[in-house]
């Protein structure tokens, strides 16, 4: 009987959005067992009942957020070896991929990262090379360890029993010591990798992102930036979209003052709808855009914001 194991991400007493997505993919494969590394687990476990999860294994004494990847991977590997799921699904976060990587080594399993689709037969789909190529792959050895990109599937609303089993970690101490932790405080805007609309600024902003932010706010969007903008220090690196930044695929991507060279395109060209505003009529971004405005973003954006606001109030 096929089964799939998923790793639960959480912070500050709430489970991550990715949990529903992982449970949905996992339920295609078979019975879903969720693994939660937490000590204060009751509230979190209650939330897990909203998803197609059959069983929840809580591991105490090895808190997900207070330990490094090493000890977590060691415990998770014990569970994988014991329960032999067909697949282990983890969200493609920085830590998630490291845990997945270490479990792959420990359990002698193949690993596929950043999948955007997963079939019942464990065929993983990846969008690679900046979205120009779609690849279907399978793991051929051991447990199929797959990390999934956030926002790749609509989370199933089907609830499950989430039968609880609690066990204690086999006292493994990591080689690393976390001496302090400052979690990211979520600002007013959506998280870049989860946002359905993104408004990005590039060289054309000349350092002034105020109009980009104004449009983002009126659309309830996240703000992104090109490498040129982040390298110039105009916006934090964490907002960079592109080859060496984040890869996003929102419903709408608005590129403001961004030329659209491969460096940036690689991070956003699979967006459902692309809009571009640029002074240069020959900017490569226009080859990608469903709608392009050749003009100064400092004229176009304020007019657009005013227009959207008046539609909202009418």
């Amino acid at each position: 009987m096929s089964s799939a194991m998923i790793l639960i991400d959480y912070d500050n007493g709430s489970i991550a959005k990715s949990v529903g997505e992982l449970a949905t993919f996992a339920s295609r494969v078979g019975e879903v067992t969720a693994v939660l590394f937490a000590d204060e687990y009751q509230v979190l476990v209650d939330h897990l009942k909203a998803f197609p999860i059959s069983k929840v294994i809580v591991v105490t004494g090895c808190n997900l957020n207070e330990n490094t990847a090493g000890p977590i991977a060691k415990e998770l590997s014990h569970l994988v070896s014991e329960l032999e799921p067909s697949a282990l699904l983890i969200s493609s976060t920085a830590k998630g991929k490291e845990i997945a990587a270490r479990v792959a080594v420990r359990t002698q399993s193949g690993i596929i990262t950043d999948a955007i689709e997963l079939s019942a037969e464990l065929v993983a789909t990846q969008s690679v090379f900046g979205g120009s190529t779609v690849v279907h792959s399978k793991v051929k050895h051991g447990t199929s360890i797959i990390t999934l990109r956030p926002n790749s599937v609509e989370a199933s609303q089907a609830g499950g029993p989430a039968e609880l089993v609690v066990r204690e970690a086999a006292a493994s101490v990591g080689k690393e010591t976390i001496t302090s932790r400052t979690p990211t405080v979520s600002g007013g805007r959506p998280e870049l990798s989860e946002a359905s609309i993104i408004v990005s600024g590039g060289r054309g902003t000349n350092g002034d992102f105020s109009q980009v932010e104004a449009l983002a706010d009126v659309l309830g969007a996240a703000v992104g930036a090109s490498r040129a903008a982040t390298d110039a220090g105009w916006y934090p690196h964490s907002h960079q979209v592109g080859q060496t930044g984040k890869t996003v695929s929102p419903q709408l991507y608005v590129a403001c003052g961004i030329s659209g060279a491969i460096q940036h395109r690689a991070g956003m060209q699979t967006s459902k709808t692309i809009v571009a505003i640029n002074k240069d009529p020959d900017a490569p971004i226009f080859e990608l855009a469903d709608f392009g405005v050749v003009g100064d973003l400092f004229s176009v954006l304020p007019q657009a914001v005013a227009g959207i606001n008046s539609k909202k109030s009418s």
């Binding site: 920085a94 690993i111 659309l219 505003i277 990608l288 007019q303």
Partner: protein, 265 residues
Amino acid sequence: MKIAICVKQVPDSWAEKKMAGGLLDRDSVDAVLNDLDEYAVEEALRIVEAHSQDGANPITTTVISMGPERATDALRKALSMGVDEAILITDPALQGSDALATSAVLAKVISTEGFDLVFCGTESTDARMSVIPAMLAERLEYAQLTFAGVVTLDVASSTVSIDRMTDAGTEKIQAPLPAVVGVIEKINEPRYPSFKGIMAAKKKTIHSKSLSDYGINSAVVGSAGAWSSVEDALAMPARGAGIKVVDEGNGGNALVEFLAEKRIV
């Protein structure tokens, strides 16, 4: 103290990448030193410079790569930046290796040659998996200090401390050597090789090694040894160009109309 920097030669990120027979087609594009590995090389060089007063404990740097013969170009770039020497593990059997095989090969080299501190970039711009540093730490039983935006080495106490910076937040983490340190783009500004550096690099050694030099069985690497495989790959059709208007005082309004048609506003 011996510092290693693991680097990869990848297709130029400005070039279009294609698949050929289930693998990335590396031959038909220009190849460069992976962008993000430059930050790792730079950080290693800065650490050496920061400790240059300590004559009793000299620090050497070695850049290591697993790749085809032409990867020597990428290694030569690192040598031009100031790295002391290079090791290239090259063998036709390595083609098509997955991350597990790559990490196994690199780990064997690192443990055989005895490096105390291993620097890596966060990911390669071709595969973008971001798993090698963690796999190396697991295989070598070294401390894993990754996504570092700041790195400090304390030679006296043999410890490394980092500021780990990810979407989840910032953590200060420290560990005793030996350690694998993965660095992010934010950490530094890689130096351009100087003319002097380029000339000096010509005299530096690139040790070319095969699998048998490290006692690695060719059956566990390459496409044959891979634990995952590609079933098929499809090139996506290029996006067609859409509507383009020129702003003559109504560009913003035209944009709003478009968004309204798409039911976004």
